[in-house]
Amino acid sequence: MWIFRRYILLVLWLAIADFLFAQEPDTSFTSLNEIVVSAKPVLDYKSQTKPLSSLDEYMEKMTNVGLIKRGNYAWEPMLNSMASERIAVTIDGMHIFGACTDKMDPVTSYVEVSNLKEINVSSGQSGASSRPSIGGSVDLVRNCHEYTSSGWSGAVNFGAESNASLVSAGAKVKYANHLFFTEANFMFRNADNYKAGKNTLVNFSQFTKHNASLTAGVKVAESQTLTASLIVDNATNIGYPALPMDVSLARAFITSLEHTAKAISPAIEAWNTKVYFNTLKHIMDDTKRPNVAIHMDMPGNSETYGLLSNAIVNVKKHKFIFGISGYYNRSLAEMTMYPKNPLEKPMFMFTWPDIRTLYLGLNTKDHWMINAHHHLNYSLHAGFQQNKIADEKGLQSMEIFYPKASPTKNRFLYGLQAGYTFEKNGFEVTFGSGYGERAPSVSEGYGFYLFNSFDKYDYIGNPDLKNEKSVDANVGFVYRNNKVKVNVNGNYFHIFNYIIGAINPALSPMTIGATGVRQYTQLPFAQIANANLELSYKPIWNLAFKGLFSYSYGTDNKQAYLPLIRPFSFRFNVNYTIKSFDFEVATEGAAKHYAYSENYGETATSAYAILNLSAGYKLLLPQYQLYVKVGVENIADTYYTTYADWNHIPRRGRNFFVSLSFVFDKTNRCH
């Protein structure tokens, strides 16, 4: 597992959980030991500050991860100050592409924390194995099963929050023996409108979500398993207070079948092959909004078929991963607007004109443990991508802007990366560099009058865009001993052919209320840098102090600031454990966002800080565990907004929460 280790950005507060729980013998049904050793961001929700937080809330605490909020649901993850187009978000390596033209359904919105074991975040090119990206990749890793225990296990979870009357309830049950396992998992969340600080109601921020997952695995031979998995996620009545429209339905079916062979030969440690299919349906809805300029329907669909195969091969001090990855995606979205005059015909356009994307790629990585102190890792990948406008009408519409538009566009995408780690006496120094390319997203290539409510422009895709290319460098320094840990790290991306929308004053906006039209174009370059300082201090075993300070910087080729770049921000936690109780005091905040992008409709956000408190109790019996957490977030009911809040919608005000988890484990260890 620990080959990934240096790719993983430690989550500060999760490490606190490590402190708290590493003392306890692991009796839960997850294979927690292994994970703790690998120091990955573990989604062991029982040990979190606020169990049953949404996946978005989890991710928000991760270093170098930011989340764009358009409401209280489906936040859009950013990594290294780069959003969906520049990062690859996958579920167990599976590619899923949101079905919404306005990015209201990032991949992360279709899964639940309870579906997942951990989140693998790889920065820059170190993560670009199965899909080319610029900023890095986020892989949501599902629960796995080791065929080592038999019997029943499960959990019942319940959470309630005062703000938005949020209710979360879930259950999980699993049966396993040494040849077979099956796990069913269900989660329900419901929220009303939330209140921002100073008792300010934020209308259209409600949501309802149901998520069910079913996994079954069978050992087909000694050290070979077959695992089938299904996630059904159904969210309804989702409000987006920052946007002019809400969503009546966001639904995903995510399926996969995976074959795993372990210890095939002394050299071949494992070989995993997976086929998958997912289909997403997303329906926007403006029927609940007052004063709609024009009523419209905006359904979107995205379907992806894919294949992944990876072999882990050990040759002396090298650990190689050889992989192939392929997927075929169909993205289709349309818009029908209904004129006020009922005699007029509805107005229809394809906003994503049935775009088919085929990607086939090869990748290889090597982690070379030169000796106990020196490690080298490098990777290479190459892929072929074809985009095709499958709908003739879509092509004809594109020809209005690009008379010579071709229905197909082929690209080759390459990337490579190398990193070095030196480790000795608690000191660790890492540095690395990479080169990567990405193809434009469907919206960037083929979007048709996609309204961006942030800068109030309609966006038109550009099928002639060249590949965006990036050279990145990263450096990190870690010192740790029994009591202290210091981690300083930073990265820099120099991005060539940076894709961004440029105003075309000759074009007339389509959306009523839009200022104008932007067409996607490419800047010669842009640059983005991120820096983090993490400090932790544990004077005694049951008391820990943690601090995280982050800063990002991004400019275009004319030294103008890029949008959605994080200002200086911080998080500070104190954790104390006594017997079965634990307590946390946490504060987080940001400095004034002065480096905002006026060109893209940004305005300054003020500095802020909020204070959170929580307390937990756990009862651990051999077969039963009970976890209780209570807490309050934003105690002072501060009214605030951050750089990542779309149109500056305010964040949640004071919120009391309680969560209860009852876990049972009646399995016998088989080994």
Binding site: A293, I294, M335, M337, P339, K340, N341, L343, E344, K345, P346, M347, F348, M349, F350, K393, Q396, S397, E399, I400, F401, P403, F448, Y449, A506, L507, S508, P509, M510, I512, G513
Partner: protein, 271 residues
């Protein structure tokens, strides 16, 4: 020899039978009118006539032989009969269609709809073997749901008619735009060729959204119409705001679209 002639007759007959369906494929018969000798079928793309540009198709059957004429010469004069006066409308001569055996075609741009007291008819003369035979069908013209023809008096005090001709099947794409511009001359109309037409397509229901990639139509002597490009970014109702100018750039009709006002000279297309 007689056998050969017979064979030829059979084969030509067969051919005609085969072609009967394809002769009027995609067309709808609107009406049929006869005199002692001939029966004239009138066909259209739609099931009736509308104000604006209409393609009109004709077939003439010899009532004695029951055979459709292939070599007749047809001429016509569509005419509006009003309370106090009558007038014609822009139209073409009737010509045999290329690739068809029995189908003849003309166009007429009806400037107004039939009403209780005012109606259109068309005097059709069929000339065969030097003999002229006439039918005068009444043509029922209904108002088009969109504005497809505009009559205006120019700043030069002349009376013009501007008609939407193509695209008849508009798409969300760059369409071939064809407009007809005619000058009233007595009771008839002449195609105008020395004026310029500027087209500004807008969607009134979308805050006057406009489209890129349009090309103003220019006169084409092959059909005496003005040909250009019309970009439509989506389906729905589009208003083609028009300005007609002379060679000196003086405005003859219409005006530029402003924040508050559209052109007073316009045509519409809806799909």
């Amino acid at each position: 020899m007689a056998f050969a002639v017979l064979l030829l007759a059979v084969s030509s007959c067969k051919k005609e039978n085969n072609n009967k369906a394809s002769e009027t494929e995609d067309l709808t018969q609107i009406q049929e009118v006869s005199n002692a000798n001939f029966s004239v079928e009138i066909w259209g793309v739609k099931s009736g006539f509308e104000t604006g540009y209409n393609d009109i198709y004709f077939r003439v059957k010899d009532k004695t032989s029951g055979v459709y004429l292939q070599d007749a010469s047809l001429s016509w004069y569509p005419e509006m009969h009003m309370m106090s006066m009558s007038h014609s409308c822009p139209n073409s001569t009737i010509a045999k269609m290329n690739g068809k055996q029995t189908l003849y075609k003309a166009y007429a741009i009806f400037t107004m709809a039939t009403n209780a007291t005012e109606y259109w008819d068309a005097k059709i003369d069929i000339t065969k073997n030097g003999e002229v035979s006439t039918v005068i069908p009444v043509l029922n013209v209904v108002a088009s749901s969109t504005k497809k023809v505009a009559s205006f008096t120019g700043s030069d005090s002349k009376k013009y008619i501007l008609a939407y001709i193509e695209p008849q099947k508009p798409k969300a794409a760059v369409n071939d735009l064809v407009l007809g511009l005619f000058l009233k001359n007595g009771m008839g109309f002449d195609a105008v060729q020395n004026l310029n037409i500027e087209v500004d397509p807008r969607m009134p229901s979308m805050n006057n959204h406009s489209s890129p990639g349009n090309e103003n139509p220019v006169f084409n002597p092959s059909d005496n119409f003005y040909h250009g490009k019309l970009s439509l970014t989506m389906s729905g109702l589009w208003k083609l705001n028009l300005i007609v100018k002379n060679a000196n750039n003086d405005i003859i009709g219409g005006k530029a679209v402003t924040q508050t006002e559209d052109s007073n000279l316009y045509l519409e297309v809806e799909f």
